[in-house]
Symmetry: C2
Subunit: 333 residues, 2 copies
Amino acid sequence: MLRVRYQDLFDALLRVLLKLEFEPERARLCAQLFADTSRDGVYSHGLNRFPRFVSMLRTGYIDVHALPVLRAASGPMERWDGKIGPGNLNAHHCMARAIALAREHGMGCVALANTNHWMRGGSYGWQAADAGVIGICWTNTLPNLPAWGASDPRVGNNPLVIAVPRLDAHVVLDMAMSQFSYGTLAAYRMRGELLPVDGGFDGEGRLTRVAGDIEASLRPLPIGFWKGSGLALMLDLLAAILSGGKATHQITADPDRENGQSQVFLAFDVASLDQTDSASRIADQVIEYFQLPPHSAGERVRYPGYKVLTTRKENLANGIPVEPSIWRQLDSL
Amino acid sequence: MLRVRYQDLFDALLRVLLKLEFEPERARLCAQLFADTSRDGVYSHGLNRFPRFVSMLRTGYIDVHALPVLRAASGPMERWDGKIGPGNLNAHHCMARAIALAREHGMGCVALANTNHWMRGGSYGWQAADAGVIGICWTNTLPNLPAWGASDPRVGNNPLVIAVPRLDAHVVLDMAMSQFSYGTLAAYRMRGELLPVDGGFDGEGRLTRVAGDIEASLRPLPIGFWKGSGLALMLDLLAAILSGGKATHQITADPDRENGQSQVFLAFDVASLDQTDSASRIADQVIEYFQLPPHSAGERVRYPGYKVLTTRKENLANGIPVEPSIWRQLDSL
């Protein structure tokens, strides 16, 4: 594994995006979102995902020039049309709008139709928390997860992001509805390891910890079985209804052509209700209690986002780990 | 099992509440919320829970006379103090406020501090959906669930409710963060059955399907292991910060004295953005796709809320099943 400096990764991504005719400012934000994702240790959706992003720009499933368009507005709520533009830029724009609405109204809700894969969902949670507001967002996806009791994939593995700001270290949950992503399943298979818990069904419909068997059956397990399946369905309903855009059943099942997703971005500015500025202190107390006592192995119990911050620090100090083949591939993009 | 008519159950509950000095109108709503809960098949939080509710009224952990008080308001957001009044009345009031705010602003957020157990969370989801709006609500609880990697309970088994209205049959998710409630664990133990999937840890820290071993270890499993644990934490953070009320770590671990919970009620009125009134049609299409094809046993895949409606219909036709001992106990309350 090669390690590259953050600035070098950013510059390399920027060069490719400018060649693809991104406006300079949009190219910089897009490069930053990809570089930040690798910096924070979410390698699957940072540099590793970039070649596929470029490929979808070339095939036209992502429109490099498309800017989101406001379709409807009513007080703290807005509806935008993403015009199948770059998903991370659309999502960043909509969370910025939700934050602005929250500053004005106390809360904001921006629903986005007709967008593209937002890459790392957590980016928009960190964006809200960095602005000092609570952020909640989710996206629907192509049908890629069988509901509990079903054998073929008719719900999306819809990620849900919830971010609570703190002065020192935000708390950011970024989770999809399957117990393990396909990326994680592949990693376990390649290392020849069993999953730590059941991750899906094998070809005969039995729960299994063998990652390769789940990849073959296309039946990963929703978190909490029937519960995660139900939550995934609700997130799809909310995204499609609030945005007026596509639901999972209207999105192609071909990952290389997946576009038109619907997303929701909520922001809450507690300062509108509470001038005591106590939110960060409340969060500190909750996290302190949560982390005690240490669990059996002597480590502290991890809160959502904890690992991101330690990885970020390490990667900024020592360089960001990159796959040499993908790093070299950037030259040819 | 005895079956009683809805009206008889309602009348019996009302009689007790009036004797406990509830105002007549509040007594009627409280009796209705308990009776509706049993009618809808959520027996654990209907009549079966009523004696404990009465006991907490008598010990003063629920204040029969307390009305919720508005503490702060800013456009679509409000903060209320529940004054440790009856939790179902407080919650019903706050969802009604969220619905009213959504009618005015497109969306509403009501955060409630210092309340009491809301009994069946789904009640307030159905309340929103019956009013034709999307409803989302959650509560924190006493610490009763070990976080993933922890051995003692430091997060709450915080229920999350999401409701989407349809013309015929609303879609309502009502789920707590543990794979099985203590009530369900007890039911499996008494029937001598294994849980359908792992439900927690035994005394030696191994995952198990033996309900009694989990009851003994006090280590039920969060849905999706680390994921449900993280989601439970976020719901607590949001409830405490938005309401300015207690977080789980500030709530007593004694279930008979549990009060002061914090809750959040969100409502979204899509009509503010979309005059085409397409929401119900979108939801119908999503559910239709979700339910096909039938799974292996030939049954349809169940969406959240489906079972409630069939149980409701059956219980209204044939009477509501009640435990004879609890039904008789009403006379002595």
